[in-house]
Symmetry: C2
Subunit: 320 residues, 2 copies
């Protein structure tokens, strides 16, 4: 984390101090927070867009002296321009950014930090350590472990499963290693494991291959909700939907609906919530409306969603 | 972290959803959050008490349907009773606890979690993993590293320093190891290192001993503000106050005042903020007034405080 902070936020903080809960309202001073996220090009980023807007609307209503600038980018170049614009024309006091890619955004975000602004980085780290004040991210190890523990608990007498992996990345390795560690010593046996690249169509093909090669499959760890949908389609087409269940991951609305409804094929899900952008925005806002320290590293847990708690992870208005 | 959450918070959450920013205000449903902390028996816990009360006052004003129960305990037995009372008579929806000691509190807090309440543990972990939903704590490695980097930067030509350590604990080891790693390869030479047990009087004696044995001391890493005060007293009595400076740690008001005023003997401080209780209370509250995920692990950074940013870490109304 950044060692020295010499910025002008003291004034805003002092305002929050003087009248707790009504940040700066008494002196008319406004804190402007820039939020830069990828455009809603696929399911998860669609959720990010929804939850960012919801958090901003809610915070602007609660704290009239907080002002937000939201920009969405379809590519890293656009995101770099967005960040530069926020500095040049909006004089932001803080930046919350979910970087499209690490490398091209590292320099521009460092310049924001060097200018004394509070910087919050979400989900994907920058290429250089110590730039941001606050880092908010999911927990890939927990994501795999929670899934593995669910298989172990649900299959006390063991069983044969297949695993669809994501794009070969550190993230995918962390998830799969934690999953394997969690099922170790149980009777849960992985009879097939292939990369489905977090892609619905690719997962459909991989699952068709698994089905043709394995007469017995008791369950599928699809490790992602998009891949789960592809796998379920392949299972349905094979007519073997009564034989196996599927665990995805992320917390997609369609999947949470199936969990809520008690669908036997989708008995649970594991979160890797796009709503983490709302966590990051709220913590950054709290930095300006309170004395509470918000510099640090917040790793958001992956939670098992079952019919009992699914309501809590169901966002009816979200696209994801 | 807890795997299954089956509690009744869904209603509160849904209320927050329907009217963002005014949590549950429209249906009159109140969320009650219990806060259990050690009594203000010494400086740091004095700060914890101050910041807990400030966060509660601020949040109750902002969110009329949030209700808090604050209890302070002088010993672990009283804290166990406090927690049991909150469950029995106040029907809390969530508990924020800074445990007096890990072992005696683990069972009682687990019963709160098992009853489906949201549990936030602050600073000192419980004796069993996975009970709490949210863990908020300081960063002992950063505390030592930031201090070491400051010595290295401030003494480019090297120098002789003495180090006062805390009570022999994992916390102290983590801090000192990170400090030593940070000054490695620099000309900063540790000519004496002894345990001052985070105690002002003990630190005074240890520093007297250092002074009598070392004709040249250029700086002191007191590693704690209470120990820094003891060390400074010994230095002043020796008449060598012009020869050396002292770096403490925690963010005690007296020390931040000296940093602010440009005191040559106290050029900086490193935070280990008692205000982390406010962070924990605000994140727990956000769990009930928003959709933002708050389950996870938030490690609060230790920040270098210099005359440039000292205002931001100065709480004039706090006892600490």
């Amino acid at each position: 984390m950044k060692r020295l902070m010499t910025y002008a936020a003291g004034a805003c903080l002092a305002a929050g101090l003087a009248l707790p809960g009504v940040a700066g309202a008494q002196d008319g001073e406004t804190t402007t927070i820039g939020v830069s996220i990828p455009a809603a090009t696929h399911g998860w980023t669609g959720g990010v867009n929804f939850h960012a807007q919801e958090a901003i609307d809610s915070l602007e209503e609660t704290y009239p002296n907080l002002d937000f600038v939201l920009a969405t980018a379809g590519d890293p170049g656009k995101q770099v321009s967005d960040v530069e614009d926020m500095m040049a024309t909006r004089d932001i006091d803080a930046l919350v950014i979910l970087p499209f890619e690490s490398d091209p955004l590292t320099g521009p975000v460092k310049r924001v930090a060097d200018a004394g602004k509070f910087v919050t980085v979400v989900d994907r780290g920058l290429a250089q350590e110590g730039i941001e004040d606050l880092y908010v991210a999911g927990d890939n190890t927990a994501f795999g472990r929670v899934a593995g523990e669910y298989f172990k608990e649900r299959m006390p007498d063991g069983g044969k499963i297949v695993v669809l992996r994501g794009i070969p990345t550190t993230i995918d390795n962390e998830r799969v290693e934690a999953f394997q560690a969690a099922i170790e010593g149980s009777g849960v046996e992985i009879v097939g494991m292939e990369h489905g690249d977090w892609n619905r169509d690719k997962a459909f093909e991989v699952m068709q291959d698994f089905l043709s090669k394995n007469a017995e499959i008791d369950a599928v760890w699809a490790s992602d909700d998009d891949m789960a949908l592809g796998a379920i389609e392949a299972i349905n087409q094979s007519g073997r939907e009564a034989d196996m269940w599927v665990l995805g991951g992320a917390g997609m609305k369609q999947m949470i609906e199936r969990v809520k409804s008690g669908d036997a094929m989708v008995p649970a899900d594991v979160t890797y919530p796009p709503a983490m952008i709302a966590t990051a925005i709220r913590l950054t806002a709290a930095r300006f409306v309170s004395n509470a320290p918000m510099e640090g590293r917040f790793i958001i847990d992956s939670v098992l969603v079952t019919p009992e708690n699914a309501d809590q992870y169901y966002y009816p208005d979200s696209p994801f």
